[in-house]
């Protein structure tokens, strides 16, 4: 995968493996910590709330340690690229707008946000002429509005635009 247009790797598989194993280790520690707080032993009426999660946390930590050791033991030289710089840019160029999109859903409602999101995507990454961008992005939101609000009667988040159009 990384050989084609990806260019030089942004960081190696080894780094990614180590980071992921560390992530699991922290998670396992959190689970153990909270289970101990809740009580992981027995009371008169049976096992306490932390009884089962405690062992889950222990297994997470043990497997994370094994994975961490395996990642550390892997030769530094041989490690392939996890993601190329070009690929990472492409992935982030989708991920970041999506994050902004989710913020916008809360502010201006899902329909207006979706219209902007699809439009931006088509214009920026697809380089479509404006009339196509406008037609597809608005058409898409109208179709979803009809399916959810009209047909299935499932209300989705709406914002000032819908209030202005009296669609609440």
């Amino acid at each position: 995968m990384s050989e084609n247009d990806g260019g030089k790797p942004a960081f190696s598989v080894r780094t990614a493996e180590i980071a992921t194993a560390a992530f699991f280790l922290v998670l396992g520690a959190i689970v153990i910590f909270d289970s101990v707080r809740l009580g992981m032993g027995w009371k008169d009426d049976g096992p306490q709330a932390g009884y089962f999660p405690f062992y889950i946390g222990v297994i997470i930590c043990v497997s994370a340690l094994v994975n961490l050791v395996a990642a550390l033991a892997a030769a530094r030289k041989k490690s392939a690229g996890f993601v190329g710089v070009g690929q990472l840019k492409l992935v982030l160029s989708v991920l970041l707008p999506t994050a902004v999109y989710v913020v916008l859903i809360g502010w201006i409602g899902i329909y207006a946000a979706s219209t902007l999101f699809v439009a931006l995507f088509m214009r920026w990454l697809g380089k479509y002429p404006w009339w196509k961008v406008v037609a597809v992005s608005i058409g898409n939101s109208v179709v979803f509005f009809l399916i959810f609000e009209v047909w299935f009667k499932i209300p989705l988040p709406k914002g000032p635009l819908e209030a202005f159009l009296g669609l609440h």
């Binding site: 995968m1 598989v13 096992p47 709330a49 497997s63 994975n67 499932i154």
Partner: protein
Amino acid sequence: MDEIQSLMQGFAIALTLKNVALMFTGIILGVIIGVLPGLGGANGVAILLPLTFSMAQSPGGTTSAIILLSCIYWGALFGGAITSILFNIPGEPWSVATTFDGYPLAQKGRAGAALAAAFTSSFVGALVAVIVITFLSPIVANFALEFGPPEFFAVYLLTFCAFVGMSKEPPFKTLATMMLGFALASVGTDPVTGTLRLTFGSTHLLTGFDFLIAVIGLFGIGEILLTLEEGLAFKGAQAKMNLKVVLETWKELPKYWLTSIRSSVVGCFMGIVPGGATPASFMSYGVARRFSKDGDKFGTGMVEGVVAPETAAHAAGTAALLPMLTLGVPGSPTAAVLLGGLLIWGLQPGPLLFVEQKDFVWGLIASMYLGNIVGLIVVLTCVPLFAAILRVPFSVIAPIIMVICAIGAYTVHNSIFDVWMMLVFGVVGYVFKKLQYPLAPLVLAIVLGDRAESSFRQSMLVAQGDMTVFFSNALVGSLTGLALFLLFWPLLALLIARFRGR
């Protein structure tokens, strides 16, 4: 024959105009979902699940709802073959083996033959599995009626240990994601004592993590991010599909009857064992290559090389519903989502379903026969249409799929926080997939976590903390023993390999 009679009643339920219409809708939606990158059986069903909430409340509505959702599943299974053969992109993990001979066939200009062979053998595999379900599931359910908490926990244990023992991914990675699933499942209110666990004062976490959000994020967003890396364009072969090609292929297919039978058996067996569809397709491809007289030509575009994995994958995908219905233990992520649907509609999956919800169970089983017939007709006639969807540029399809995923995540609990969680799960899914952390055990653990935990705690309560309860009789003992064997299988395999090496 009680089963035949029950099945006939099931057909009477499934063959109403409304339910047949739902079958067509489900299959068409399913194929579209299977063809689109980023949408597959599991997250497609998860996104559409909220649409069935109101449907399931009317009398008999749960049967209609499960027919719709299971047909989406069959459709997605069929759709996976289209992308594998025409575009060399496996839509689902179990379609990977189909690309080995399917794509070369398409390059040779025999795409139509490859597709016709794939669809027909999918149908055969599914049919065999449905027949197995029809006759085996009442027996299994009857047997499981006697199960107590220790037996159920042993079944859960077997399910999860099978993942460790049988997946291609490193065992400790499987273990790590699986336990992450259990940890996520325990977030929220403890079902037994009512205490809050792992919420750390956050009100959003009170109800815990919903597995539907996880499925949409892990399989949907994660998959789109992966697809993006490959660039924004798909290059695919043209499919020429007409009656002549289909009939010619059908004339050729009976030659491979032995391969079909072998693959169906492998598929059914592996499907009942959890996580089986993907290994089943590979195994069946390998077996066919070894036994075929043209074995050395496999990989260059042999019809037989399409028949083998497709039959097995469909048989396994269908057979995965058997443990879901009879024991409440799903064999695949999609079966897990269907199980989640059952729970939301207020049905309790497990052996009692066969006693208390006869109409539902037999309606579903009958719809499996009909749904696959409908599916075969739809895909054979509409392939060019579905392939056209993939020719829509990714810069248009990708944002629309993102929007669909966001809406799907929102509608589960009407919460924007869930949409954020979906995005987080998407990044997690992307990284995990690249690092070979398997996602299926993670999803299954989120779904089954609470039930596995309560059966464990109940067994412990009865036995006063004595672990030997899991070996207290022959049944539970052999289940636990088999589970432990599978759990330690990677280690044993390593030792055997070492021993032989010396």
